[in-house]
Structures are given as structure tokens and as C-alpha cells.
Amino acid sequence: MTTFTNIPKQIEELLEEWKGAVSRRNFLKGSGLLVVGFGAASVAGASLLGSGAAAEAAGLAQAGGPYPDPDFRQLDSWIVIREDSTATFYVGKTDLGQGTGTAFRQMMSDELDIAYDKTSLVMGSTDVTVDQGGSGGSDGIERDGWPMRRVAAEARRVLLELASVQFGFPVDQLAVSEGVIAVKADPSRRATYGELIGGRRYNVTLTGADINETTGLAKVKAVQDLKIVGQSPQRYDIPSKVDGSLTWAVDVKLPGMLHARNVKPPVAGAQLVGIDESSVRDLPGFVRVVSKGNYVAVLCEREEQAIGASRQLKVEWQRPATPSFPTSEDLYTYMRHATPTSSSPPTVVGNPDAALAAAATVIEAEYDFPFQGHTAFGPAHATADPSNGQMTIYSNDMKSYGLRNGVAEFLQMPRDQVRVVWMDGSQAYGRTAADDAGFEAAFLAKEVGRPVRLQWTRQEETAWDTKGPAYTFTLRGGLDDHGDLVALDYSARAADYHHLGYNEPDTVLIAQFMGMGPSMPASGRAATPSEMYAISNRRMAAQVVSLPLVFETPLRTGNLRDPNGPQVTFASESFIDELAAAANADPVEFRLRLLTGSTSDDDQFKRARSIAVVKAAAETFGWDPRPSPKPRGTGNILTGRGTAYAFRGQTVVAQIAEVEVNRRTGHVWVKRLVCAHDCGLVINPEGLRRAVEGAMLHSLSRALHEEFKFDTEKATSVDWNSHPTLTHADTPARIDVVPVNGDPNPDRPDLPHYGAGEAACKPLVAAVANAIFDATGVRLRRAPFRDARVLAALRAAHV
């Protein structure tokens, strides 16, 4: 049989360039004077240099490790300029598919004053990029963009000083443009960045208490002076994703590599009794069964052999004596009656009970939101290489540094003997923050002493990935006789007991299965709404409840894109709509009325920005002010529109959904979506537009389809049939994304850039529910709005 050694193309290119030169690691140590070129195409792969087996295969010696962290206080750790005046930026973030890598390059190119297309970027690999923690929480641009800008500005400053010495003119008599510095009075005297420092080290030490504060002496540019920021260069990674040339984490293939598949217990909480290895021993390619505690995996020479062996392996399990959880149908009743495991003290303003007692109208409603999975399109995967007594993990983990730290602790290896090479992977919305596959592949590789590629099955991923917590809500609101909202009482419960942290060596699934879990579960949390409504009397209460089974369960919770946001905002913004209807008020007008009060400068600023997006969405949509519901139509298709708004961090969005509801089938089609979006300074408008479209449609999937289902002992949602997702057929005919800058002073020099990865997820479910109410007069208080549920609600209301 043909044997292929798949050294990723990027590595091959780099190895060619590398011959006779020094490694990046040596460069960072200061022992090298030359910098080797990284082609723009090599982006992620650049960091693969010296990777264990790949480098060995090429006869190179850098493979051995150790792999210490680059020093973030050295400018050379962030930026390299080559003799040809191209630059490579090294940042400790990962791009989950929203184009942040392109945005980082824009920000750093702008501050460095170099053409965007003369730059490249390497991200998220622990031994070649500084530790910015990887990605999560929409903080890449908002938080980590600042040190990137500052170090690039510092690199420009140093280049100006070098030019100043060379030309004998003070810095203020020099001009910089696109990587060339010239004497203003005599532009023939000029030097390129490559001539000034190409291939050499800066040797500039930076300051700052931590990596987020990293700075040199230079100041970042004023917003008005930014040229590349605000443009929309195409994403550099898209061509290689469209022509098939990119090597993804899932594509890594190393000499001697084995393929592994896990064997999960058939029901949650089962105990391993015994394994009959003879059931697979004679299968072709079989190598080994590895098990510890309740963790079981099969390793074979070929992938299809591992798949077959994992299905055939006979394992005896003992079922738990009592039910592990209520069924998904009984979940909300269970949650409402459970004794909370934790309660935060309620936040109280005014006297909500007295105000409710005195209100002219009081309405009360209960809302429910199911467990929903990350349900990554590409099931969890990683390849681990134990060569030279070190451990290299090729992974798409969004938090690659955390994976390195977690695995080092899990395997009891020094941190600098473990590294994670980040490569592109399937977007997973928080799933890889607790990267089970990375831990499992590393464990197996250490056990068998050979590189191991592990991939989960579809069924395993859908059943056993981390879940966004289910919620129940009880809301009460009081209107005075003018229809003004005078009291709001919000109470939420989240099934979020034992919420997973980031790559913790004792909470990842393999640790739980091995009995290495924590003695005390993480308490989790329940969240409160993010809106800025000025309500004189309100109470916000949030509690966490536990299900019977806490560990080794498919109902383990983790951070799912905008954790808690879609759930909480579904309830709170639907209920505001209920109150608007009770007040016979237009839903937009009702919200704007609640945003006019002010209690502090900060609140006033946030309310000004709230008003700006609510108005912008209404204007773009062509909102016709009137109360909901509208007079019901007579045909089979009922149409309506609904709005909702929310903050995610400092980013504020308002959305409007226009729906068609089929009264005969209950089918809901969201025909049009509008999102007014204020995330401060926009780095790449076209990139932002697409990220916002994706975020909205992800929440539309959660609104219309997604519910993780289970009986009392196992998941019954296990694939795309039993756990449907949004499809092409559901796609709106039109989506408008309207960037808004609600800063009262949009020209102030330090206009911040806020996050944009998740905010648009937040209000969408509520906007759709409100639109369904507008169309039909029926209020849906439980998500998702699948056809059968909608039809039942329509029939109950005789629609």
C-alpha cells in the first residue's frame, strides 16, 4: 500500500526556507542574526517550524524542545521585519473563523505604517507567539488589539530613531509612508524598513504590568490618522479554504501515527466493569485498547480500522441505580421545583413589591429555554506527538495556551515540554475552550509512545459536547394608568451546576472519566438582562440548580457563544414586548421611553448608544409605529415584525425580524433581518458584516431548531436528524447590517474598538418571538419555535 507522509504544505515551504538558517526560537533567544522569511500563505503553518516528526523527517534538529514561552516584553516576540521590507506579526490569539486575523493585521500594519499586503500573521502557537490566552469572549479586538497596536507603534518609533541616526535629522523632520522613511526636506534621502532593520533584532524591551498592558514609548495613532483600519481587505485565509490548499488541524499526519476513537459509556454515569479485548484483537490494524477508570479508547493503524474497532469492542458497563436527570420534556418542571445550589443576592432598585401592588396593570409570565449544544460541525479532534519525551499537540483549540497548561498538569510534565500548535478548525463557539480531544490525544500518545490522531464521532460530539445551560424564568411587570412601566421583577434559574472552566485538567471529560475530577463542582451562574432600561422599581434574581448527575454527564455546561445571553434576552426582551402590548404601545416607542431616564454619566452614555441602535434599526427596516399584534390576516401566511435589543460587554445591538408564519403547518420563516450594531471603532466593515450575519443566523438556528433532548439516562439528540440545525431553506431573503457609532464624540482620538463576535447572537431569539406575536397574537414562551410547537400554540389560541 502507498504510504504518504503528510507534511503540511506550509511546513514544507518553511523547511525549504529554513535550510542553513536559524530557527525562530533561536532568533527569540538572541542567538540569530537572520530572520527567515515566512510567506504570507504560511500563516498558521509558520508556527509549525521544528515540529517533532515533521522536522525530524527533514533532518532538522530543532524538534527536541523545550518550548519556553516567547517573552512578551521583547518587541522581537511580536514583530519581525525582513530584508525585503515585509513584516510578520506574532500574536497570541486564534481566529475562530470570523476574520479576526485579518483585523489584527490591519491594526498592526496601520500602526507600523506598512502596506497591509506586505505583512503576514502567525497566531496562537505556544512556543512561537506570546501568550494572549487565545480567543474567547469577543475580546480579541476589544482587549488584545490594544497591545498589538502599541507594539506596532513602538516598532515604527524605533525605525524612525534608526533613520534619524542614519540621516542625521531629528525624527520630526522625517516622514513615514508604507515602510519607507524619508527626510522631509530631501525625499531622495530615504530608507526602507528592510534596509533599516531587515533580518535583525530590535532588542527593545517593553513595559507593562501584564501582557494586556504591554507598551513601548510610542503612542498609538489617533483614530483620524488610521488608514488601513476601516478598510475592508479580503480575508487572507479564504483563498486557501476555497481551493483546498490549507492544512487544517484535522489534516495533520505524522510518520508512525495511530488513529484513535473513544468508546463512550452507553448511558451517563455508567461504571466500567470489563473490556473484552478479544472482540477486536484480530481485526486488521488493531494496536491497543487503552482504558483508565471509565475512559476507553481504541487505537489502530488506519482511521477506518479505528472506527470499526471502536464499534466492535465489547465493553461491559454498570448502569447507575437512579435516574441521572429528568427527561428533556420534564426538565423545566424539575428546575422550577429544585432547591437551588446557589443564589446571588437579588439586585433591587426602589420597592418593586410595593410598586407592583400599586400598579394599574400587572402581568406575569414564565419562559423556558432548553439546553443547547455547541454542536461543532467538525467533531472534536487533535493530533499529539510524544517525540523526544516532549508533547506537541496540533489543535484548533481556541485557547491553545490553556490547553498547553492543562495538558502539562494533566500529564505531569513541565510546561515547557508541552506545546500546542494552533491550526484552523471547525468553528465551535466555545466548545474548544475545554478541549477534550487535545487532552485525550496527548494522554493516548504518552501511553503508546507514538503520535496519535483522535477524532470524535458525530454522535459522540452531539451527545457529549459542552452545553449552554437551560433556563427557566418568572417575570412580573407593573404598568401605571399611563401605560408606563413602574416595576419589573425578574427571576431566573439556570441548570448550570458544574460549569466547565477553560481546559482545566480536572474538569475536562477525560479527567472526569478517570476519576480525577474536582471534589467540589464549579458553581456556575445564572445571568440577568443587559438592557439599560430606566425602571424605578426592579428586582433581579438569579439562581443555579443542579441535575441529579453532576459529573460524567452529557449535560455538562460550558460557555456557548455569548453564554447566557440568548436565553436571558429571550425572556427579558419578550417580556418587555408583552408589557408594550399590555400598554397598547408601539414596541420601539415603548423601549425608547424606557431609555430616556438617566442615573449616572455612564448609564447616560450607554442609553444614548442604546437609543441610537434602536432608532437605526427601526429606520432601516421602515418600522411603522403601532402596537402589536397587528390585525390578523386571513390567508395561510401571517406576517409580522418584532424587535429586541441588548448589550454584550460594551457592544450594543438592536435587531428587527420580519416573519411569515404558516397557520396550517406552524412553520416560521424569518424573511428579513435588520441589525443595527455599535461596536465602536470598526476595523473591517465587510468582515464585521459577515460576522454579524453569522451570529444572527446562529441564534436563528437556536430560535427555530435547537433543543438538546434526552431521556433519564442518555442523550437522544445524537446527529443532525435528531438535533436539527438551520439550513439553506431557512435563510432570510434579506439581511441588513447597519454599523452605528453611538459615541457622542465619534471623532475622539481614542475611540475604542469593542468586540463583535457574539453581541448579534443576543437579542435575535426575542426578536423572532416578538415578530411571531405580532403576526399571530400568540406569545411563544418556550424555545425553540419548531413547527409542531408553534402549530400547537396557534391551535390552542384558535388562530
Partner: protein, 165 residues
């Protein structure tokens, strides 16, 4: 194990494999063609799509020995270094988010357009409905399909004998 011959992207390969092995693993692990990807192994998502005899086929549930025709993978769409109009439309429209599913989107769209050069909106929705994307790039995929249809239509010689002046 037995010899199976596969014609892929213009080359023939004879491999000594278990003939029931799904085509996906042979393409990826033996032939180094990594465009098709594993998403479900159940034929539900489309990540593994290849084109065989002009049809979009899910290679994760296709036994290698059952393949009779010429296989085209994502890597085989470009001609002499020029991207297929569908791929070019994907770049022009900046379709992908993470991109993991886009092999399925592109290959399915390619077959859709080969069979129906001017699809309506509802034909696109229907034709693509079983090809999933968890970044929900559907809106841009549909725009790119229309863009590709236009560029392919512009590139075709006008019908009739006269041509375009």
C-alpha cells in the same frame, strides 16, 4: 484487502485496501486529498462531498469499491491554475467564516449550477438544503451561487450563430 482502482482528478490510483472502506478515508489518508472532510460519517451534513459522474456524492457513506466513475474533489476544480467560477465567486463574496463545511457548499453548488445554470432563489434553497453550515454562511453562499451563475453565463458564448458583436 483487495485492489481497488480509483480515478481522481485526472489520475488513476490502484490501492490495496478493504474495499468496503468509505471513499472519504481513502481520499484523505491514502491519496492526500484533504478537501473533503469528515463531518458526520452519516451522509447528513455534506462536508465530505465529491463529484462522481456529475453528481454530488457523500464520500463518507460511499464504499470505495462501489465507485465506478471519475472522482473530482475540491482540489480538482481549478483548471490550469484558474479557479472554477464557483470558487472565484466564493472569494469575491467572502463566503466562509471558519470554512470547514465549505467543501460541501462549493461542491454541491458546482453540481447545482452544472445542472441548472440559472437557478431561482427557491431552487438554490432547495438544492442546497441538505448541505449544512454551523457558521450559518447560508446567506453568503446563496449570494455567491447567484454571482457564479452570472459570471458563468457571461463567460458562455451567446446562443445562435451570430455571437456578440
Amino acid at each position: 484487502m483487495s485492489n481497488v482502482t480509483l480515478k481522481v482528478n485526472g489520475s488513476a490510483h490502484t490501492l490495496d485496501i478493504d474495499p468496503s472502506t468509505p471513499l472519504l478515508y481513502i481520499l484523505r489518508n491514502d491519496l492526500g486529498l484533504l478537501g473533503p472532510r469528515f463531518g458526520c460519517g452519516l451522509g447528513q451534513c455534506g462536508a465530505c462531498t465529491v463529484i462522481i459522474n456529475g453528481a454530488a456524492v457523500r464520500s463518507c457513506v460511499t464504499p470505495s469499491s462501489s465507485v465506478k466513475g471519475e472522482i473530482t474533489t475540491l482540489e480538482g476544480l481549478a483548471r490550469e491554475g484558474t479557479l472554477d467560477p464557483v470558487q472565484q465567486a466564493w472569494i469575491d463574496e467572502q463566503v466562509p467564516q471558519c470554512g470547514f463545511c465549505q467543501n460541501g457548499q462549493i461542491m454541491t453548488a458546482k453540481v447545482l449550477l452544472d445542472q441548472n445554470p440559472n437557478p431561482t432563489d427557491s431552487e438554490i434553497r432547495e438544492g442546497m438544503a441538505r448541505t449544512l453550515c454551523r457558521c450559518m454562511t447560508y446567506y453568503r453562499v446563496q449570494a455567491a451561487i447567484k454571482r457564479a451563475a452570472t459570471s458563468m453565463s457571461d463567460a458562455r458564448p451567446a446562443s445562435g450563430q451570430g455571437g456578440v458583436a
